[in-house]
Structures are given as C-alpha cells and as structure tokens.
C-alpha cells in the first residue's frame, strides 16, 4: 500500500503512537467479540429449547381446542368463552448485555389468579377438552413471553456481533498493517538519509584534508 507521509522523526513517533492505540483497540474489540459470541450461543441454545417447548405445548392446546369444537356446538363455545377471566398485565423494560440493549418483559395476572378460576364458564355445559385447551394455553403463555425476549435478544446480539467482527477485521487486516508499513517506510527513509549524510561528511572531510595537505 502506498504510504503518503513525510519521513520525519516526528511523523514516526506519531505513527507508532497510533499503532499502539490500534493494537490495544483490536485486543479489546476481540475480547468483546468473544464474549458476545459466548452470550449469543447460550441464548441461541435457550431459544431452541423454548421454541420446541412452545411448539409442542401449543400443538397440544390446539388439538384439545379442536376436540372441544367437535363435541360442542359452536354457540355454546362462543358463549362459554365470551368473557375471558384472565387479564394479563404486561410490561417491558430493557437490560444491557455488553452495551447492547435487549428487551426484558415482566408480566402478571390481574384479577382472580387461583388455579381453578381460569375457566370463564361453569363445568356443566362444556366439554373437558376445552378445559385442557385453556389450561395448556395458560401454561404456555409465560414461555412464549420468554421466547419473545430471547429471540429478540438473539437478533440484536447478532447485529452487534456482526458489527464488532467487522471492526476487528478492519483493524487487523487494514489499519494495523498499514501503520506498520508506514513506520517501516519512515525508518528506512531516515536510515537512508543518515547513510547519505555520513558519506557526504566523509567526502567533505577528504576534500578538506586534500586541500590542507
């Protein structure tokens, strides 16, 4: 790469200083990248677990729901679930993972929270499949909220990893070699000038001696 600096001692010092900063930044960013990667992989694993669990449980819930549909007339179902009893309070904040802001959800149920109270209808007129469906849906909801949290975190972290990796590579393969090259060029040039100066001095001395003699 072409080096465009004036080969002076001042410039050499400046280049060396920049190089030191770049090397230090590179090391720090590399550490950050590795740490991000570690967190990222843990989250990905958790995400997979959660997704599988949610998918399985949702499947079960919908199956029960379908059964309930089959054994009960639609009007009865509509009537039974007209007024849901559970109301969910939901709140979102954010937490910091290595300067990446990821969402954090908290939730709570409003109203009667007793186990037997989640069904908005009497047991007499409805099929038990409906109970199962509602029960498992209620069970899967917290998991789903956590899944949302983890999935979003994975997404945000992946963007940050990408960015960090690009920076690390730019430092490692472009900036640092360039600075080293510059430093080398300046030293060579300075040495060259030094040698040139030395021969010139010797020559001058010789001439002076000849005249004196």
């Amino acid at each position: 790469m072409e080096v465009r600096v004036s080969p002076t001692r001042m410039q050499l010092l400046r280049t060396r200083k920049r190089l030191a900063v770049a090397v230090r930044g590179h090391k720090l960013l590399k550490d950050k990248r590795d740490e991000l990667m570690k967190k990222f992989l843990a989250l990905v694993r958790r995400n997979k677990e959660l997704r599988e669990e949610v998918e399985e449980k949702l499947g079960k819930a919908f199956k029960s729901f379908l059964m309930a549909r089959a054994v009960m007339p639609p009007e009865v179902i509509e009537e039974a679930i007209m007024y849901p009893k559970r109301v969910l309070e939901f709140d979102a904040t954010s937490v910091n993972i290595l300067s990446v802001k990821v969402p954090k959800f908290s939730w709570a149920e409003k109203g009667e929270a007793q186990e037997s109270e989640i069904y908005p209808y009497g047991p007499a007129a409805t099929a038990s499949e409906l109970d199962f469906a509602i029960g498992s849906l209620a069970e899967v909801l917290p998991k789903m909220i956590e899944l949302a949290e983890v999935e979003k975190s994975v997404e945000l972290l992946s963007a940050e990893i990408e960015k960090t990796r690009r920076r690390v590579n730019a430092l490692e393969y472009v900036l640092i070699p360039q600075l080293e090259e510059t430093a080398r060029y300046i030293t060579m040039k300075l040495d060259e000038m030094e040698r040139g100066n030395l021969t010139r001095l010797m020559k001058v001395k010789e001439i002076v001696r000849e005249r004196g003699a």
Partner: protein, 97 residues
C-alpha cells in the same frame, strides 16, 4: 403494555382465554392491516403472529422485526409448526459455517 395476537380465529380465541387480546384475520391484506395497526398502537409491547400469516406478509414482518419495540414473534398455529429457517440461517452466518 399490551400483547396482541394476529392469527386465525381458533388461535385468537384460544389466546383470548389465556388473557391476551387478539385480532383474527382471513386475508393477507387484513393481516397486513392488523400488523400495521398493532405497530401503530403506542402501548404494544409484543406481537404474536401465526407463522402462516407471517409467511404471507413476510416483507412487512421483516420490517417490523427490525424495530426494537414492539417485539414480533412468530408462533405455530393449530396446523402445527412450519420450519423456522430465518433464525437458524442467521445463526449459521454469524458463527461462520
């Protein structure tokens, strides 16, 4: 903050029972409109959309996913899960396989 479900009638009914508000949609246009409405609402924190509908309005969902709030999550509907390739692919490209 609210959670909003977008999906077919069964899914939405099911989630209503679990205490989550939702809109059921029957066409991709309706799904798109519902998503827009959910995004526009100030206090939406989480949007759950069934995979079948999110596949139908893929580009809108992708745009929505880029925002920090609200979080959009795809869930399976009653016909079972569809392959969730996007995340797996992303993970692979990050790790470098």
């Amino acid at each position: 903050m609210n959670i909003i479900v977008i999906g077919d009638r069964d899914t939405v009914t099911g989630f209503r029972l679990a205490g989550v508000e939702g809109w059921h949609v029957d066409t991709p246009q309706e799904a798109g409109a519902a998503l827009e409405k959910a995004l526009a609402a100030r206090d939406t924190g989480l949007i759950l959309i069934t995979q079948r509908w999110s596949a139908a309005i893929r580009s809108e969902v992708e745009v929505a996913r880029r925002r920090i709030m609200p979080v959009v999550v795809e869930i399976p509907d009653r016909r079972g899960p569809m392959d969730e390739v996007s995340l797996t692919r992303k993970v692979h490209s990050i790790i470098g396989i």
